[in-house]
Each structure stands twice: as structure tokens, then as C-alpha cells.
């Protein structure tokens, strides 16, 4: 590939026509916004990060060498920008979430009743209330767990890719993801548990 000719555009993995800045904006703004919104829990913050990410992407289109796939590159940039944005926020609310494993008794038994959940069937579209409950639970996760949960269980990225994006080992990703899922379970249980007769 001639670097001069293509220095202003990046080639997506399928080898189709190079991306132009307008294509980048049109085709990737939704994906970036979606991820940023889940990580940051705020429309305004997500918009700021989306703008920063896309403008950076356009500036760096010429330097994309294709060592990793374009979507991975995009995820990595978005995660880094969102994390940097979070660090800059002065009054960042720190959510202290109880360790789910602390609820167990000394003998290893459950410390509280575990009740069945009543949730909408998969065949139906998710209603707004359920969506709101889940998003709020995600927003209240400690950031170290929230980022991995969003990448794994919302974006559905493989653990190896998450490890690469976050600069963590796969075992750390799995450990934090598991802990995040337990926290989510505890956060959602009061809303979904069936009322005991």
C-alpha cells in the first residue's frame, strides 16, 4: 500500500474502500456513543467523549497500520478516552458497593433468602423500566468493574480482546467480570424477585 496515497484514510478489515472522515462519523458515531454512554452513565459525558474520539480517529486515520482490527482499535480509543474523561471529572461520585461474597455466612451458606426472579421473556422487546433498572445498576458499579462488564456483557467482546484493550491479564478480566455480575445480581434482585406468598 502506498502510504502517501492512503495516508489520509484507513482500510477496514474487509478491505473495502478506505474510510473518509464523513464515513467514520456516519458509520461509527453510534458505536462510540453507545460504549461511552454505558461507561460514563451520562448523555452529556458520552457526547463529549464521542466527539473527542471521532475527531481523534479522523486525525489518526493515516497512522492506522492495521496491526489490530479496526473495531478493536476503535474500542481501545473509546475506552481510553472515556477513562481519561472520568479522571478529569472533579466531583466524581464514588460508588461504594458491598462485596457480594460478604453476604455469605461463616459456614459458606447463603446469608439471605434467594428468591426466584420474574423477568420479561426474551421474545418480548425489553420495556423501558427494565432497561432503566439495568442501566442504573451498571452506572452504580465501581468503575473498574463497570468498564469490564460493559465491554463483556453489553458490547459482548471476547475476554482476550478486553484484556488487550484494558491492559489486563485475561484472568483479571474474568475475575472482575465475575465480581461485576455478582454485584449486578445483588442490585437487580430487589426489583425482580417474586414476592413470597
Amino acid at each position: 500500500m502506498d502510504d502517501k496515497e492512503h495516508s489520509s484514510s484507513a482500510v477496514p478489515p474487509d478491505g473495502r474502500l478506505p474510510l473518509t472522515p464523513e464515513q467514520v462519523c456516519r458509520d461509527y458515531s453510534g458505536q462510540v456513543y453507545h460504549l461511552a454512554r454505558r461507561m460514563l452513565g451520562s448523555d452529556a459525558d458520552a457526547e463529549d467523549v464521542t466527539q473527542d474520539v471521532l475527531l481523534q480517529m479522523v486525525r489518526k486515520l493515516g497512522t492506522f497500520r492495521g496491526e489490530s482490527s479496526f473495531p478493536t482499535w476503535l474500542h481501545r480509543v473509546t475506552v481510553n478516552m472515556a477513562q481519561a474523561h472520568r479522571r478529569k471529572r472533579a466531583a466524581q461520585e464514588e460508588h461504594r458497593t458491598r462485596d457480594p461474597l460478604e453476604s455469605f455466612l461463616d459456614n459458606g451458606a447463603h446469608g439471605a433468602p434467594v428468591r426466584q426472579w420474574s423477568t420479561p421473556p426474551d421474545e418480548e422487546a425489553m420495556d423501558a423500566e427494565t432497561q432503566q433498572l439495568i442501566e442504573e445498576a451498571i452506572r452504580r458499579l465501581p468503575v473498574a468493574y463497570r468498564d469490564i462488564f460493559v465491554l463483556a456483557d453489553v458490547e459482548q467482546l471476547p475476554n482476550a480482546e478486553i484484556a488487550s484493550i484494558m491492559g489486563l491479564s485475561i484472568s483479571t478480566v474474568k475475575s472482575r467480570l465475575h465480581r461485576a455480575r455478582l454485584m449486578m445480581r445483588d442490585a437487580l434482585a430487589p426489583h425482580f424477585e417474586e414476592i413470597a406468598p
Binding site: 478506505p18 462519523c25 458515531s29 466527539q51 486515520l61 459458606g108 423477568t119
Partner: protein, 87 residues
């Protein structure tokens, strides 16, 4: 196996990555412990619901602003491909 130990192994259990011995122990425990059976099911439900969250589109106004910013930043001369010329 205690209930806590079972919960700690749920991550690998739900993706069928537990060694056979541990898997067997878990399944024996699940047969005898209704609480853990429900707990495991709700763990799977968390994953299932999260994966069903609808994809949020970028606000139209944001996309339009970005498009305008990109157009304003484009140089006067455009190559045939429509991409940016090297600086």
C-alpha cells in the same frame, strides 16, 4: 462444596469451562440446594438481560455537529477518494 464456593465457580460453570470433577461437585450441590439453583439461574439472567440492552444511537444533533466540524476542518483540495490530503 459450600454455597459460597459454588458461587465463586459460577463464571466458569456457565461457560462449561469447569474441570469435570468440580463440575460434578457443583451439579451435586445444585441438586440439593434450591437456593444455589436459583442463584445460578439469576446469575445467568443478569448476563442475558445485559446482552439484550438496546443499542443507543448517537443523538442526531451530535452527529450533525460532528459532520459540520469535520467539513469545516477539511482542506480545500480533495483527492478523488474524498479523503484528507496529507499535511
Amino acid at each position: 462444596m459450600t454455597c459460597r464456593e459454588l458461587v465463586e465457580l459460577l463464571f466458569d460453570y456457565v461457560v462449561n469451562e469447569l474441570p469435570p470433577t468440580e463440575r460434578q461437585e457443583m451439579e451435586q450441590h445444585l441438586c440439593l440446594c434450591p437456593s444455589c439453583m436459583v442463584y445460578a439461574e439469576t446469575y445467568r439472567t443478569v448476563v442475558r438481560l445485559s446482552r439484550r440492552l438496546p443499542r443507543q444511537a448517537a443523538p442526531t444533533a451530535l452527529v450533525e455537529r460532528l459532520q459540520a466540524a469535520l467539513r469545516a476542518g477539511e482542506p480545500r483540495q480533495q483527492p478523488p477518494s474524498g479523503g484528507m490530503v496529507p499535511g
